[in-house]
């Protein structure tokens, strides 16, 4: 009876029930949305860059969906503060699951990485490296 309950360890439930950085920014440098069709998760990530146009001053999110997607968005936006866009681009699946501190089952990884992919796509669009309408994890 471990993996599943484990997946919802106190920290995740805490972020789910009390999301950090939830809301819209007044003056985001960029913002982007994504969906995970599996759970119907929707996430918008907004990022405000420092004057160096490279370092993340702060990040926020809005959205709706399962605990895994919402908690990981909450944790990720905390984590993004102070990162450079390069560092953001270098984040991978493991960085997110490390943040969550649990083993996410293969089917639910899509929930966990949604906010990360949204943030990365948002940055890539901002930097003109990519064209994406809505980011999808599936």
């Amino acid at each position: 009876m471990s993996a599943g309950r484990d997946m919802y360890r106190q920290q995740i439930l805490d972020h789910y029930k009390n999301p950090r950085n939830y809301g819209e920014l007044d003056d985001p440098t960029f913002s982007h949305v994504g969906e995970n069709p599996l759970c119907g998760d929707e996430i918008r990530v907004e990022v405000k860059l420092d004057e160096d146009d490279e370092t993340i001053e702060y990040a926020a999110f809005t959205g709706d969906g399962c605990a895994i997607s919402q908690a990981s968005a909450s944790m990720l936006t905390d984590e993004l503060r102070g990162l450079t866009l390069k560092e953001l681009a270098a984040l991978d699946r493991e960085d997110v699951t490390d943040l969550l501190g649990v083993d996410v089952s293969p089917m639910r990884v899509k929930c966990a990485v949604l906010s990360e992919k949204v943030a990365q796509d948002g940055a890539a669009i901002y930097e003109g490296e990519k064209e994406v309408d809505v980011t999808k994890t599936e």
């Binding site: 009876m1 599943g4 919802y8 399962c66 605990a67």
Partner: protein
């Protein structure tokens, strides 16, 4: 419902036929499988029918002269008769086509009949609780032909609004397509009544019986329907096979769907004539092992007794709903307890996303299914994006329902 006396099931004996039910999952709990509306488990006789085919008489069918082909051909062809009989089609194989699933059966009729017969001004009437397999299919075929689609309302308790059906079906209705049993709400639609309504207006009726045939006796002639479809993998059969029943005269008059070997009679470089039903609709090397194993599944279910299965599921469902009602933060969809209802129970726990709920259930070795269950429009109209669904079958027990309840309670506490 059937009037035949039904014996209570000897569930412990039945469970021994299903090797997977002895399996442990996750941390070592015994599997509690409550995802039967998605796919049912497979009893030994059906698994064995598949192995015996490959070990004993695997061969291409129809035209072979040698022993293996003769054995395979006879078994495969007779499987059609067996499934026809299983749903009360007196025409045998001339009314029973094997498809890969219910979805292909719907596409067969929608393409072979619909693309040719529908046009601007015509309409197809469905229900709001159609599965995507019919909803998307008729919607798209209607788009391609210029026909209109109409949806019969489902009320807050999951009942089909038959007054609304009477408003929608008119002289321009060419097809009424309805589920027999909703895979979300457990509702049974009044198929015989809808068939009457369709026929009064010169329309055909297609019934999606994917959730009906596995669970209770179905007689397509008593229901008076034109087409009826169901899937093997939901009725103790293998994956990769389904059935389309069609009235003999309708199937005989229809053009084929797919083209290829086996469905032809005479082929020249310029033109082709068609084989008889059902072969006309089974292009290419058919689903041989699958068809033979499905006939075995039909035997298995009849040996157990469809009436008894129906009654067993009814009791489990009543019990499950009673226990679910103990939670005041849990909403159950579909007809209330006590009404006619099949062994499908969908619900949501306040503040817990269906997928989170399912993950936690899985932790308890309880397999349920979260999501929209291929009924996005129905979920939209219920104002939800997903629901959790438990669905029962002949091998489930009250103890398993108790485990379900316990797991839900665990999720509630976790998210409290």
């Amino acid at each position: 419902m059937s009037t035949q006396a039904s014996e209570p099931l000897d569930v412990e004996r039945i469970r021994r036929d299903f090797p997977i039910l002895g399996r442990e999952v996750g941390a070592g709990d015994r599997l509690i499988y409550l995802d039967n509306a998605a796919t049912s488990q497979t009893p030994d006789p059906v698994i064995d029918a598949v192995s015996e085919y490959y070990r004993g008489y695997n061969s291409n069918v129809h035209r072979g002269i040698h022993h293996l082909s003769e054995e395979a051909s006879i078994a495969y062809e007779e499987a059609h008769d067996r499934l026809a009989e299983f749903v009360g089609a007196s025409g045998g194989r001339e009314e029973l086509v094997f498809t890969k699933n219910t979805t292909e059966a719907l596409n067969l009729v929608a393409h072979a009949w619909g693309l040719r017969e529908l046009g601007p001004g015509d309409n197809v009437v469905m229900t709001e609780m159609e599965h995507h397999s019919s909803l998307v299919t008729w919607q798209q075929i209607a788009k391609r032909t210029g026909a209109e689609v109409r949806y019969v309302r489902v009320d807050g308790d999951g009942h089909l609004d038959t007054d609304h059906a009477r408003e929608l079906v008119d002289e321009d209705t060419e097809m009424v397509s309805t589920v027999h049993v909703s895979n979300v709400l457990g509702t049974m639609t009044p198929v015989a009544e809808l068939a009457g309504l369709a026929h009064e207006h010169g329309s055909h009726i297609f019934v999606d019986g994917a959730q009906a045939v596995p669970h209770r006796p179905v007689d397509v002639e008593e229901l008076g329907v034109d087409f009826y479809a169901f899937s093997g993998h939901k009725m103790c059969g293998p994956t990769g096979i389904g059935c389309l029943y069609g009235r003999a005269d309708l199937l005989a008059a229809m053009e084929p769907f797919m083209y290829g070997g086996g469905m032809v009679r005479k082929v020249t470089f310029e033109e082709t004539t068609w084989n008889d039903v059902p072969w006309k609709f089974e292009a290419g090397t058919p689903l041989i092992a699958e068809g033979i194993a499905l006939a075995e599944a039909a035997d298995y279910l009849e040996d157990v007794g469809l009436d008894s299965i129906d009654r067993h599921e009814h009791e489990l469902t009543e019990y499950a709903m009673g226990r679910l009602e103990e939670f005041d933060d849990l909403e159950i969809y579909g007809p209330p307890r006590g009404e006619e209802r099949t062994g499908v129970v969908s619900f949501n726990l306040e503040n817990v996303h269906a997928h989170d709920l399912a993950s936690i259930m899985n932790d308890h070795a309880v397999a349920i299914r979260p999501g929209d269950h291929c009924t996005q429009p129905l979920h939209d109209s219920m104002g939800i994006t997903a629901s959790a669904r438990a669905s029962f079958y002949l091998y489930n027990t009250k103890a398993e329902v108790d485990a379900l309840i316990e797991a839900i309670d665990d999720a509630r506490q976790l998210f409290a």
